[in-house]
């Protein structure tokens, strides 16, 4: 279970970071979303993984640490609000600047074509 969990967190994080490094605002926003998912999962696991354990006393034999669950809840709410803001800002940037490049000015078409020529 730990391995699968760790792999999920790792894959989500690396995909998120890859997408954040892309040049268009849409992929950056997607990347931020993936990153916040992976962070939430990671935070959840910081109280150790346990099966069939309630975070409340006297409800089951085993108990698990309730604090990470509270932390994750907070992190989800904050992450959600921040993502919403980033989406709106990305749309605003698209409208204000006329393109969806993260720097506001995409490398000109000519330049990209030249680079393609070099490669081939």
């Amino acid at each position: 279970m730990e391995l699968i969990f760790a792999l999920c967190v790792g894959v989500l994080t690396s995909c998120g970071i890859y997408l954040c490094l892309r040049g268009t605002t849409f992929s950056v926003v997607l990347g931020l979303t993936l990153l916040s998912y992976s962070v939430n999962l990671f935070l959840f696991a910081s109280g150790r993984l346990a099966l069939n354990a309630a975070p409340i006393l006297k409800h089951s034999e085993q108990i698990t640490d309730p604090l990470p669950q509270a932390l994750v809840l907070t992190a989800i709410v904050i992450g959600f609000a921040m993502t919403a803001f980033a989406v709106i800002l990305a749309m605003r940037a698209r409208a204000d600047l006329g393109n969806d490049h993260v720097d506001g000015t995409p490398p000109s078409l000519e330049q990209t074509l030249r680079q393609k020529d070099k490669r081939s």
Binding site: G16, L35, V39, L43, S46, L67, L71, L89, D96, G104
Partner: protein, 507 residues
């Protein structure tokens, strides 16, 4: 239990919420006076807090859940000092904003107050996760404030700023998860206690988590190589917002003091001073980078932004030299640099408005309508920020230089700080010459500064001579405040012990 420690958080949040409700939402004049009134009261509360905490630190237990399990606020000299600094800066920035920026978009004042709430919360909290929450509050308010008024430059700068900070927040959470996984607590005082009893295998993980926190706080405080966002962002922000942002890098620095001075400081056993070896070269590099930026800056706002980076580098240096014993000098410099750069941002805006199309770029332009008073204020601000006698910058830098005692530290610190002062002097003389003397024609524009704007700039700048006159008591206080980084944690631990003793008696 006194409610004093939570007032600096409650007051701005309640007034902020009140101002977005119907009777006030469309009533700009009411919003203005309520905000200025609230910030004035905040200054008084902060002074009261400072006086009280100078006797003994205050702990505020939220919801009655005792530490280390519940969240607590910790007000000691250090946090009270920074809360007072925030209140003074915020009052002047809001005063300046009352003349023009309030009309460029809706909800300027509520956003402003929410940002103050976040900043004060970050200074007062004693819990690492709560620090994250307050960071997010101040950040989301700052996102909205940054883009307030609109415009292409602001949108561009905002997207970078927000993306970087969101990634920073993700790292912050990963770091907190790692630390909680190994230490089993998020109360900062309790963390400092548990670090000492870690197994070697846990120490490595805790170290990784701690160093990740350095990345996060480095991003907030603009430490090289995480400072590239700062000049553009601060130059794009409207003047009162940029002035308020002068305290934002200090929130990052404060967190570095608390985490790497308090938790991983001299009491941390084998993890003691674990970040100092990294901060030392990075601080020098930040300083050097800031001076190059200052020399290359094409406009006064960019020049001021680079002065912020220089001050961050200097403050990081005072944190690491002499095993942290120079921090008191650093705090004096922190007060000075925050207020003076805040004033410079306001001044730069006024110069920009009065120069018309040339804005604040260092090019030939028409004369300013109020060139003489602005020139005098510019000279005072430049003398203060560069660090020439007789103003507070000189005393601050002198204290910083005295802080280094070992020859090797002295070589690096004296070299970089003195050369950076010289280069800043060159940059500001060149800027002043271009702004005030390279004129075309003799017909000045019609824009003049509002009395509120004059008041705000003069109030902020008067901090510099005041800090010079009262340098004695202020430095004595900052020395005591610097000791609180470690002492407060011991105080909290005593309270936790008392609580545990009480509970074991009860059973």
């Amino acid at each position: 239990m006194t409610h004093l420690p939570i007032l600096p958080i409650l007051l701005p949040s309640l007034v902020g919420i009140l101002l977005i409700l119907p009777p006030f939402a469309n009533h700009l004049r009411m919003q203005r006076w309520f905000t200025l009134g609230a910030l004035g009261v905040l200054v008084i509360i902060a002074i009261e807090l400072l006086m009280t905490t100078d006797q003994s630190p205050l702990i505020y237990i939220l919801g009655g859940w005792h530490p280390p399990f519940g969240i607590m606020l910790l007000a000691d000299r250090l946090s009270a000092l920074l809360v007072l600094l925030t209140a003074v800066l915020a009052f002047c920035a809001a005063l300046y904003g009352a003349a023009y920026e309030e009309t460029t978009g809706r909800f300027f004042y509520p956003l402003f107050l929410f940002q103050i709430m976040g900043i004060n919360g970050a200074f007062l909290t004693g819990d690492a996760f709560n620090l994250f929450v307050f960071f997010e509050i101040l950040l989301i308010a700052s996102y909205a404030l940054l883009i307030h008024g609109g415009g292409k430059e602001k949108t561009k700068a905002s997207f970078h700023y927000i993306t970087l900070n969101l990634i920073g927040s993700a790292f912050f959470l990963i770091a907190l998860g790692t630390l909680y996984g190994t230490l089993g607590t998020l109360n900062m005082a309790d963390m400092s206690n548990r670090v000492t009893t870690l197994m070697p295998s846990g120490q490595i993980i805790a170290k990784a988590g701690g160093m990740l926190l350095l990345v996060v706080f480095g991003l907030k405080s603009a430490m090289l190589p995480l400072q590239f966002w700062l000049p553009k962002t601060y130059a794009a922000a409207s003047a009162p917002v940029a002035a308020l942002f002068a305290i934002m890098t200090k929130v990052g620095l404060y967190s570095i003091y608390r985490v790497f001075g308090g938790i991983f400081g001299e009491t941390a056993g084998s993890l003691a001073f674990m970040a100092h070896g990294w901060i030392w070269p990075l601080a020098i590099a930040t300083l050097v980078f800031g001076m190059l930026g200052a020399l290359a800056a094409p406009s006064l706002r960019l020049l001021t932004s680079n002065m912020v980076i220089i001050s961050v580098g200097t403050l990081l240096l005072t944190f690491v030299v002499n095993q942290g014993n120079a921090l008191g000098a650093g705090l004096y410099y922190l007060i000075h640099s925050t207020l003076v750069t805040g004033a410079l941002f306001l001044l730069a805006d006024q110069i920009r408005v009065q120069r018309g199309n040339a804005q604040d770029r260092f090019v030939v332009s028409r004369p300013m309508a109020q060139g003489k008073p602005l020139g005098i204020l510019y000279m005072i601000a430049a003398i203060a920020v560069v660090g020439l006698p007789p103003l507070s910058g000189f005393i601050g830098k002198l204290l910083v230089l005295q802080g280094a005692v070992e020859p090797q530290e002295q070589t690096w610190l004296w070299g970089t700080v003195l050369v950076s002062s010289l280069l800043a002097l060159i940059a500001f003389s060149r800027a002043g010459t271009a702004l005030f003397w390279h004129l075309s024609g003799s017909k000045p524009g019609s824009e003049t500064a509002h009395p509120l704007q004059w008041t705000a700039i003069v109030l902020l700048l008067s901090a510099s001579p005041l800090l010079t006159i009262f340098a004695g008591p202020v430095t004595e206080f900052t020395d005591r405040a610097a000791d609180d980084v470690v002492n407060s944690h011991e105080f909290v631990l005593q309270i936790i012990d008392q609580q545990e003793a009480l509970h074991s008696d009860g059973h």
